[in-house]
């Protein structure tokens, strides 16, 4: 599997340098996706959504304060604030970024985060 991934990645590299279409694409448009050598394999290559959920500024974050104090006590200087949040990775079967983004945005707003107390950032790669 690792061998196959290496070959695929090497082929992608060659293609990326020469592909006229890719040269005109906006940043973030991924046509060929490099897979990690130890990854699950390129057949059914998935999209991955990365979601970061953080407490809203108005909500007191005692966890963040505690972590900040601990960092200070350990000798780390100049740490103004720490905010503790959540990180989610969602692996998707689809290749349609727009539909995936809309669907996940809704999921983030309605379920994965609580808009009363949290903000979220959604990235799809």
């Amino acid at each position: 599997m690792a061998q196959g991934a290496d070959k695929f990645n090497a082929s992608c590299n060659r293609h990326l340098k020469n592909c006229p279409t890719l040269k005109n694409c906006s940043p973030g448009a991924v046509i060929f996706r490099k897979i990690p050598a130890s990854g699950p394999g390129f057949r059914g290559a998935k999209m991955k959504a990365k979601i970061v959920i953080t407490p809203k500024k108005a909500v007191v974050d005692p966890q963040g304060k505690t972590v900040r104090n601990a960092l200070e006590q350990m000798g780390h200087q100049g740490i103004k604030a720490v905010h503790v949040g959540k990180y989610l990775e969602i692996e998707l079967d689809s290749t349609d970024r727009e539909t995936a983004r809309k669907s996940l945005d809704e999921a983030c707003h309605k379920f994965l985060s609580n808009p009363v107390i949290e903000d979220y950032k959604l990235e799809i790669e």
């Binding site: 407490p55 108005a58 909500v59 007191v60 005692p62 966890q63 505690t66 379920f111 994965l112 609580n114 009363v116 107390i117």
Partner: protein, 237 residues
């Protein structure tokens, strides 16, 4: 009166609620599993405490999507009485049936102790029988009971008299020391604008028998029963 006590995976205060309502107060009370889509002939719904779905993602975040919660929402829309206790309060805020949210206790500690509640208003089906000036001694047991709402919502709660209970000292003062979890305005429990849905972090179902150090919790259930009896009488008239 018929009480429906919901059960989600990992609810664990459902049995205490049934015991208080049925064995101590002598009313009919039955369990309703989270997958049921009907509340039957329930006059009131109790959303009990516990750690539904392991408190995964956020407390109550997953339970709120249970099929039974659709029925609870319809029940509430038609004016039915719903009381959320502890995790139940969290489920109701996540479901949008009550405003605000419950977050981690300010000192990051799980608090398991008796506290005192000041009843802010007798004008609700959950407080109408509580004697004026009586402080309720009720146990809490939670790690995420800090009530939060933004300034606008807090303003609305105050303006509409929706704050039902506040943490207070043994002598009735609303001090920081009496606040076990950092809740804004020492809020322990609130109701919705329509006043038929309420939630509180303390456990009145664990304070219905003198053997358990306090039976002040009875006042809350007696209030609900009285309100329901008034409704029945009004309908019959």
């Amino acid at each position: 009166m018929n009480f429906a006590v919901l059960q989600f995976p990992a609810s664990n205060c459902d049995q205490d609620a049934i015991h208080a309502l049925r064995d101590v107060l002598g009313h009919s009370a039955r369990y309703v599993w989270h997958k049921e889509t009907s509340l039957g002939d329930a006059d009131a719904v109790i959303v009990p405490g516990g750690f539904s779905y392991g408190d995964y993602l956020r407390c109550g975040a997953i339970a709120r999507f249970s099929p039974v919660m659709q029925a609870v929402k319809q029940f509430a829309d038609h004016g039915g009485l719903v009381l959320g206790i502890c995790n139940g309060f969290q489920v109701l805020t996540e479901a949008g049936l009550l405003p605000g949210a419950l977050v981690r206790n300010r000192d990051l500690q799980f608090h398991c102790e008796h506290i005192f509640l000041k009843t802010v208003t007798p004008e609700s089906p959950f407080t109408n029988k509580i004697p004026a000036g009586k402080l309720l001694k009720i146990p809490i047991a939670h790690g995420e009971g800090c009530y939060f709402a933004d300034e606008e919502t807090l303003g609305q709660l105050k303006a509409n008299n929706q704050i039902l209970w506040q943490y207070c000292s043994a002598t009735g003062e609303l001090t920081e020391g009496a606040n076990p979890n950092g809740s804004l305005l020492n809020i322990a429990g609130i109701c919705n604008e329509r006043r038929n849905v309420a939630g509180l972090m303390p456990h009145p179902e664990r304070a219905c028998e003198p053997l358990l150090a306090s039976d002040d919790g009875r006042w809350i259930f007696e209030s609900m029963i009285a309100a329901l009896q008034n409704r029945t009488a009004a309908r019959a008239a």
